[in-house]
C-alpha cells in the first residue's frame, strides 16, 4: 500500500509536527522545573501501595520543611526494588538514596548497602524487638533499619466462624467440616514459606534442618490440611487471598496487618472479619517476622541526607506518627479498648512469638527449595518425608551439631546451594 502525498497528509503531518514540538517543550519544562527548585533531593524507594505512598508523602513533609529538602518517593514491589539495588551496585552509580527491602531479601542485599551502626543509638534500639534487630545484623554490624515490621496472624470470618480454632486439632477439624474455606498463600513465592513456616516452627522444625522431627511434624500437619484447602491456594498471594476473604469465599486465612486495614476500609472489619492468633502446635505458637527494612545503597547520591532521614525515623515520635497517620500496625501498640485493639487483637497476641527467617546470602535458593517441597506436599500429594529430604540432600550431619555459632550454621546451611 503506497502512502501518497495528499494535501490532507501534508496538513496532518504539519499538525503532527506541532504535536512533537509541544511534546519537546513539555519535556524541557518538566526538566527545568525540577532543576529550578534548587533543593537537595532524597530519593526513596518504598514497598508500599500507591495510596500508602500518598500518605507517606504527607508524613515526610515535616522532614522536608525542617531540612529544606525534596523527598521523592517511588512505590514499587520489594522484588523490583531489590533489582534496582543490584543494578545500582553493579554500575556503582544510581539514583536511589534509601531502599526498603523485604526481610527475606536482607541476606542477598547486604553486600550492596552501607553499615549503619552509628545511627542506632540505645534509645533507637529499644524501639524494636531483638528478633527484628537480629535479622538486620551481620557480623556484629547493623545494615538495615526496621521500617515497617509486621508478622502474620489468622484472619477469620466471625459470622461464619464465631469460635476461631486455637490449636492444630481445631484447625484440622474446621478444614474438614468446611472444605474450601481455609486458604493458604501457596503461590510460587516467599509467601508460601511464610504461611508454612509458622507450622514448621511451632512443631520445632527449622529452615536449615528440614529432616528434623519438628519439620516432619509440621509437614505432616500440612499434608493433613491439604485436601480441604481452597482450590485457589495454589496461586494465592497476599492480595488475591485477601480479596477472596472479602468476598466470603474464604473464611480463614493467614495474612499481615495490612489485611485488617484493607478489610476495615471496605467496612468488613470488625463487622465480618477479625484477627486471631495462629493456632498453636505441639511446640507452641510461632509466626514469621516480615516487613520492610530501610537501607542506604553504597552508591547513594546523598548518603548524609539519607542518614539524617533514618535518624529522624528512629525516634518514638516518628514511629508513633507512622502508626497513626499511615495506619501501620507497628512498634507502638494501640491503646487497650480502642477499636484498633479489637481489630488487631490476633496480631498483638502473637507479638511474643515472632521469629525471623534466617538472614543468609543463599536465602533465595533455600526458600525456593522449601517452596517446592511445600507445594509438592500441599498440591501434589507428595509424601512429607520425601519432600523434606529433597530440600537439603545429604545434610544428616547438621542435625547432630546444634551447638555451633550462628555464623557457622549459616555457612553450613548455604554450602552447596548454587548462587
Amino acid at each position: 500500500m503506497i502512502v501518497t502525498q495528499s494535501s490532507s497528509v501534508r496538513h496532518s503531518s504539519r499538525s503532527a509536527l506541532a504535536l512533537i514540538v509541544a511534546a519537546l517543550l513539555a519535556v524541557c519544562l518538566a526538566g527545568c522545573r525540577a532543576r529550578e527548585s534548587g533543593r537537595a533531593q532524597l530519593n526513596i524507594a518504598l514497598g508500599v501501595f500507591p495510596s500508602e505512598a500518598a500518605r507517606y508523602a504527607r508524613f515526610v513533609s515535616s522532614f522536608e520543611a525542617a531540612h529544606h529538602v525534596r523527598v521523592n518517593l517511588v512505590a514499587q514491589t520489594y522484588g523490583d526494588i531489590l533489582q534496582a539495588l543490584r543494578v545500582q551496585s553493579a554500575s556503582r552509580r544510581g539514583s536511589l538514596d534509601l531502599v526498603e527491602l523485604d526481610l527475606a531479601m536482607l541476606g542477598r542485599a547486604r553486600p550492596g548497602v552501607a553499615a549503619l551502626d552509628d545511627i542506632v543509638s540505645p534509645s533507637a534500639h529499644s524501639l524494636f524487638s531483638e528478633a527484628a534487630w537480629a535479622a538486620a545484623t551481620t557480623n556484629l554490624h547493623i545494615y538495615f533499619i526496621p521500617h515497617r515490621l509486621m508478622w502474620q496472624a489468622m484472619v477469620y470470618n466471625r459470622l461464619k466462624v464465631p469460635d476461631p480454632p486455637r490449636t492444630w486439632d481445631e484447625l484440622e477439624r474446621f478444614a474438614r467440616a468446611h472444605p474450601g474455606k481455609l486458604a493458604l498463600k501457596g503461590a510460587r513465592y516467599e509467601g508460601a514459606v511464610c504461611d508454612a513456616m509458622a507450622f514448621v516452627w511451632s512443631a520445632g522444625g527449622a529452615e536449615c534442618d528440614p529432616e528434623s522431627p519438628g519439620s516432619l511434624r509440621g509437614f505432616d500437619f500440612l499434608r493433613a490440611l491439604a485436601p480441604d484447602l481452597n482450590d485457589e491456594s495454589a496461586v494465592f498471594r497476599e492480595m488475591p487471598v485477601l480479596e477472596a476473604q472479602a468476598r466470603g469465599s474464604v473464611w480463614i486465612h493467614f495474612n499481615w496487618p495490612f489485611a485488617i486495614g484493607y478489610l476495615k476500609s471496605k467496612g468488613l472489619a470488625p463487622a465480618v472479619d477479625l484477627s486471631a492468633p495462629i493456632p498453636a502446635g505441639p511446640g507452641g505458637m510461632a509466626t514469621p517476622l516480615g516487613g520492610g527494612y530501610l537501607a542506604i545503597p553504597l552508591s547513594a547520591p546523598h548518603p548524609a541526607l539519607a542518614r539524617e532521614f533514618l535518624r529522624y525515623l528512629l525516634t518514638a515520635q516518628a514511629q508513633a506518627r507512622l502508626s497513626r497517620e499511615l495506619g501501620w500496625y507497628g512498634s507502638v501498640a494501640a491503646p487497650a479498648g480502642s477499636e484498633d485493639a479489637t481489630l488487631y487483637a490476633g496480631f498483638t497476641a502473637m507479638r511474643p512469638y515472632v521469629r525471623a527467617r534466617p538472614t543468609l546470602e543463599c536465602y533465595p535458593q533455600l526458600s525456593n527449595r522449601w517452596q517446592r517441597a511445600i507445594r509438592a506436599v500441599l498440591f501434589r500429594a507428595a509424601a512429607p518425608q520425601a519432600a523434606l529430604a529433597a530440600i537439603l540432600p545429604g545434610r544428616r550431619a547438621l542435625r547432630a551439631s546444634r551447638t555451633s555459632a550462628p555464623a557457622d550454621d549459616g555457612r553450613r546451611c548455604c554450602a552447596g546451594l548454587e548462587p
Partner: protein, 283 residues
C-alpha cells in the same frame, strides 16, 4: 556516480543493521550462552526446567492460547474486513471504532479488561442484571481464564488483521465477482470461490505475523491473571527472574520460547511458499 551511490547504500544498510545487532542480537546470544552456564558449561538450567511441572504447563499453554487467539483474530478480522468493504459508503465512525483497540496502549486495554472481568466487575454485573449467575472469568486454573485471555488478546489485535485483510480484499478485481455473478453464483459461492482463494496470501501472511506475536504473549497474561494462574513461557521466565531470583533458568525458558517462535516462523514460511506455489501451479 554509481560507486558513490553503492557505497552510500552499503553504509545505509550496515549502520542500522549493526545497531540492531548490537542492541538486540548480542544480548540474545549472551542470554543463550548464559542459559548453558552454571559456573561452567552445563545443561543444568534446562534440566531444572524439565523437572518443573509448571514449565510443561507453561509450554502447553503457550501453544494453546496463541492458536485459539489466532483463530479468533482471523475469523473476527475477516468478518470485520468484509463488513467494512461491503459498504457502499465508507463509514469513518466504523473505521475509527475498528482501529481503536489497536491505537490504545495495550496496558490500558488490559486495565479495562481487568475491571470488566473482576469477580465484581461489569461483565458479571451485566450478567446479573439479566439474571445469569456471575462467572469467575479470571479464576486461576479454570478454562474460563484461558478463554478470557484469548478474547482480550484477540480484541486488541483484530484491528491489524482486519486492516491486512482489507488491503487484500481491495486487490481483488471487481471483474472476478462480475464473472461469478454471471455464472449464477450466489454470495456464499462467490465468497468461497473468489474471495477466499484470492485472499489466501493475505490470510496466510496475517496468520504468520500475528501468530509470531501471539506466541510472545506476556503482558495480557501478567496483568489479567498474574504470573501463575495461566502460565505461559514468558511469564514463567519472568517469574523465575523476579520471584525465584534464578536468572539463568529464566534465560533458559526464554530460549525455549525463542526456539518455539523460530520453528513456527520457519515452518509457516515454508508452508506458505509451498502452498502458494501449489496455487500458482493450479492457476
Amino acid at each position: 556516480m554509481n560507486w558513490q551511490a553503492r557505497r552510500l547504500r552499503a553504509v545505509f544498510v550496515a549502520a542500522p543493521a549493526l545497531f540492531m545487532v548490537a542492541t538486540l542480537v548480542v544480548p540474545a546470544l549472551g542470554g543463550l550462552a548464559d542459559s548453558f552456564d552454571r559456573g561452567g558449561p552445563s545443561l543444568e538450567n534446562y534440566a531444572a526446567l524439565a523437572r518443573d511441572p509448571m514449565f510443561w504447563r507453561a509450554a502447553l499453554d503457550n501453544l494453546l492460547l496463541p492458536i485459539a487467539s489466532l483463530a479468533l483474530e482471523l475469523a473476527a478480522g475477516l468478518a470485520m474486513a468484509l463488513t467494512i468493504t461491503a459498504r457502499a459508503r465508507r463509514s469513518p465512525v466504523l473505521e475509527a471504532a475498528a482501529i481503536l483497540p489497536f491505537a490504545i496502549p495495550e496496558i490500558v486495554i488490559l486495565t479495562i479488561a481487568r475491571y470488566l472481568l473482576m469477580p465484581r466487575g461489569y461483565v458479571n454485573g451485566a450478567l446479573a442484571a439479566v439474571g445469569i449467575a456471575p462467572a469467575a472469568w479470571l479464576a486461576p486454573r479454570g478454562s474460563l481464564a484461558m478463554l478470557s485471555i484469548v478474547v482480550v488478546d484477540a480484541w486488541h489485535v483484530t484491528p491489524i488483521v482486519m486492516l491486512m485483510l482489507v488491503a487484500g480484499l481491495q486487490t481483488i478485481p471487481a471483474e472476478l465477482y462480475e464473472a461469478a455473478r454471471l455464472d449464477g453464483a450466489g454470495p456464499l459461492a462467490a465468497f468461497r470461490y473468489v474471495t477466499l482463494p484470492m485472499l489466501a496470501p493475505a490470510i496466510a501472511g496475517a496468520a504468520i505475523l500475528r501468530g509470531i506475536d501471539a506466541l510472545r504473549i506476556f503482558s495480557t497474561v501478567l496483568v489479567l491473571t498474574g504470573p501463575e494462574a495461566v502460565p505461559v513461557l514468558s511469564t514463567y521466565a519472568y517469574g523465575q527472574w523476579t520471584d525465584a531470583q534464578a536468572p539463568r533458568v529464566a534465560m533458559a525458558a526464554a530460549m525455549v520460547l525463542a526456539l518455539m517462535v523460530t520453528v513456527f516462523a520457519l515452518g509457516g514460511a515454508l508452508a506458505v511458499r509451498r502452498w502458494s506455489s501449489d496455487l500458482g501451479a493450479r492457476a
